[in-house]
Every structure is written in structure tokens, then in C-alpha cells.
């Protein structure tokens, strides 16, 4: 696949993934642009891989984990919450509170949660991505779920873990 075709097809998905990972659209844009720029430089090799998109997504995770270290020094902590959507339902409040808790997680915990519950990766792949052992992934997710105030026992069958 040509790089241009890849960008056209997958950039929206990368942006979604990066936004879920960072909880900030502007940071996601920067992250994805940076990663695509570097991916372009080595596209000959990436395009020959079995799963180029998985590789690029891994680049996003790696960039995120390193980006945050730089970011902490140069950008304000302030986060803009979308305002004025209007109806103020309990579900919306609950969801926005969850986003705030997600944004407050340590970055590796957040990455682990996103990779398991958003990207649907098995712990073995998450461990490979984060460069740690599976037991570490599980403990990170355990702590993250506690911070997110998620009780797996309360989850409906639709949202039960499949692994």
C-alpha cells in the first residue's frame, strides 16, 4: 500500500486511537502527525510488514509514552472540557467524569487500559508494546480500574471482558 493511500484510509482511525489515548484532540493531532512523518521515512520497510497499521499504532503508543515526558515541561495542564452540550443527563455526567478519571491516570496505566479495552489487544501484546511483563500489565490495569472506579462484577454481559 502506498503511503498516501494508507494515510487517507487510516488517519481517522489513528486520530481516534490517539485521542482516546491522550484525551486531548490537539495532542492527538500532533502525535499522529509526528508518527506519520516518521513512518513516511521508513515506509518501504513498514509497508512490507504483515500488519503495517498495527506497527504504526505501536509507534503512536511509543511516541505517546515519550511525548508526555516532553509535554509535561512545555504545556499547561489545563484541559478544555466540552461545554454546553446541554441536557445534563446523568449518563453524560458519568461519562465525562470517566474521561476526567481516564485523563488523570498515569500514562502507562492509561495506555494499558486503552490497549486492552479500546484496542482489544491481549495482555501478551500489551506487554510487548509497553516493554514489560504480562503480570505487570495486569497489575497496571487492576490499579487503573480501581482509579477509574470500575467494578468488573457490575459490568453487564455486553461489556464483560472476553478474555
Amino acid at each position: 500500500m502506498e503511503f498516501g493511500a494508507y494515510v487517507a484510509r487510516q488517519r481517522p482511525a489513528l486520530m481516534r486511537f490517539a485521542t482516546v489515548l491522550t484525551c486531548q484532540t490537539w495532542l492527538a493531532e500532533d502525535l499522529v502527525s509526528d508518527v506519520l512523518c516518521r513512518a513516511y521515512e521508513r515506509w518501504d520497510r513498514i509497508s512490507r510488514m504483515d500488519q503495517p497499521h498495527a506497527y504504526v499504532r505501536r509507534m503512536v503508543v511509543n511516541e505517546y509514552l515519550s511525548w508526555r515526558r516532553r509535554l509535561a515541561r512545555v504545556t499547561p495542564r489545563a484541559e478544555v472540557e466540552p461545554a454546553g452540550y446541554g441536557d445534563g443527563t446523568d449518563e453524560r455526567a458519568e461519562r465525562d467524569a470517566m474521561i476526567r478519571r481516564l485523563a488523570g491516570l498515569p500514562r502507562r496505566q492509561r495506555a494499558a487500559v486503552v490497549l486492552r479495552y479500546y484496542a482489544g489487544l491481549p495482555d501478551s501484546e500489551i506487554a510487548a508494546l509497553l516493554g514489560c511483563r504480562e503480570t505487570t500489565v495486569r497489575s497496571q490495569i487492576f490499579r487503573a480500574l480501581a482509579a477509574l472506579r470500575i467494578d468488573l462484577a457490575e459490568s453487564s454481559p455486553t461489556y464483560q471482558e472476553t478474555r
Binding site: V7, A8, P12, A18, Q24, L31, E41, V74, G84, S156
Partner: protein
């Protein structure tokens, strides 16, 4: 305690925000675009997946006097990269340019609002992508007792290659600065109006200022006033008087 459904809802909402930021219709499968077109405001708000059209986009660099463009890449596969000033510099310049016209509060900022890839023909790889990084700030602005949202981005970009849609006026100042200005509806159920001014300076830098009567010019936020807090003439003055 809650359950995984709420986490799934949070992911969906973040996806929606990503789609809103990139102009991608939510819950649709994005299809490759034959051409990307830079529409007003899209430069600061939307990701341009530039394909073949040669338009595309960038981020802020700034200060015409001190910034220089990155030299052309010597390797065909190395993207040219231009980095602009930081957020603090942009904020300070905006404050100085506004003078006593208005006060503002920055609620979101970062180097990435305008960071884009600008391939002239990325589909063939004939031209390496160009990445320009600068600073953008968003927030609320109050003038004459009226408050609204604003978005300010500065970045290096030449006038050529930009396609304008809608009712926008363009004129050139004596110093060679080209000014494009106009109004368009703010997105979202609240309605609202955005006023847009973009300058293309002779040195190759461009600045975009969008002021809205919604909390955010990017839409989907509540109305803060009956009209944007600055007129188009005031916005042109802000971007040209003291920059």
C-alpha cells in the same frame, strides 16, 4: 463504582471529539479522498489528509522577523520540518496586538493544533511531506461587554495552493500582506457565528484568528453572546497593526 459500559461510553465520546477535530463524520468509515481542500477554518481545526491536491497544512511558526523556513530536504524521503515559536510567545503577541481592544483567557494551547503533513503528492511519494510545527491558543475573549470563543494559530504557509470556499473577501495591504476574511456558521445545535481572518505575510508566515459567539469556534458548544465579540475590521486590525 461503575462498570465497563461507562468506559466504553467515554471511548466513544473521545472518538467523537477526534472526529470533530478532524472533520470526519462520526460513525462513518472514512474513505480515501481524491483531493484535500483547505477550507476556511479547516487549517486550524481539521486534519487535512492531503492527497494529490497540494494543499494542506501546517502549523504555526511565527514572528516574521526571526523565523526561517527549514531548508529543502536533501533526501527524497525526509520530510521538511519547520518549527515555530512556543505558546507563550504566541500568547504574548496576541495580548500586545489586542491592546485595549479586548481581554482574553487561554483555556487550551499546544504546539499541535496546526501541526500537519503537507504532501504535494503524497500518493506517489514524489514530494516528501512537509511538517510545520507552531503554536495555537484557544479560549474566550471579551470585548465591549461581549464574550465569545477564539482560536489563534500562526504558521508558515504561502498563499498559493489554498482554495477558498464560501463568501470570503481578499485584499492586499500596502506591505504585501494578503488578508482573507469572512463569516460562516458555527457548527452545532446552538447555532452561532464565526468570524475568520487569515493573513499571509510576505515572509511566508500566516496567521489565523477565528472569533465566535460560541464558547469554541470549533462548534458544539453553547452560545455566549448575541454576536462574536470582535468585528471583522477589528480582527484584521489585530492581525495587521502590530504584528
Amino acid at each position: 463504582m461503575t462498570d465497563l459500559r461507562v468506559l466504553a461510553d467515554a471511548f466513544t465520546e473521545l472518538e467523537r471529539r477526534a472526529d470533530a477535530a478532524t472533520g470526519t463524520p462520526h460513525a462513518t468509515v472514512p474513505a480515501p479522498r481524491a483531493a484535500a481542500r483547505l477550507v476556511p477554518f479547516a487549517a486550524a481545526a481539521a486534519v487535512v489528509v492531503g492527497i494529490a491536491a497540494g494543499v494542506g497544512v501546517l502549523a504555526p511558526a511565527f514572528d516574521s522577523g526571526s523565523q526561517t523556513m527549514a531548508p529543502p530536504s536533501t533526501r527524497a524521503t525526509t520530510p521538511a520540518r519547520t518549527e515555530g515559536p512556543d505558546v507563550r510567545e504566541l500568547t504574548d503577541r496576541f495580548r500586545a496586538a489586542l491592546g485595549d481592544r479586548a481581554t482574553f483567557t487561554v483555556t487550551e494551547s499546544g504546539p499541535g493544533l496546526g501541526t500537519k503533513i503537507e504532501p504535494h503528492d503524497v500518493s506517489t511519494g514524489a514530494t516528501p511531506p512537509e511538517v510545520r510545527i507552531g503554536a495555537s491558543i484557544r479560549g474566550t475573549l471579551t470585548a465591549g461587554g461581549v464574550t465569545g470563543g477564539f482560536d489563534l494559530t500562526g504558521y508558515p504557509m504561502a498563499m498559493g495552493g489554498t482554495s477558498w470556499t464560501g463568501d470570503f473577501e481578499e485584499h492586499t495591504l500596502p506591505d504585501g500582506t494578503r488578508v482573507v476574511s469572512g463569516e460562516f456558521s458555527a457548527r452545532g445545535p446552538a447555532g452561532g457565528l464565526n468570524r475568520y481572518v487569515q493573513t499571509y505575510r510576505p515572509d511566508g508566515n500566516s496567521f489565523i484568528l477565528v472569533v465566535s459567539n460560541q464558547r469554541s469556534p470549533h462548534g458544539n458548544t453553547e452560545l455566549l453572546g448575541p454576536h462574536p465579540p470582535l468585528t471583522l475590521d477589528q480582527m484584521v486590525a489585530v492581525l495587521t497593526d502590530r504584528w
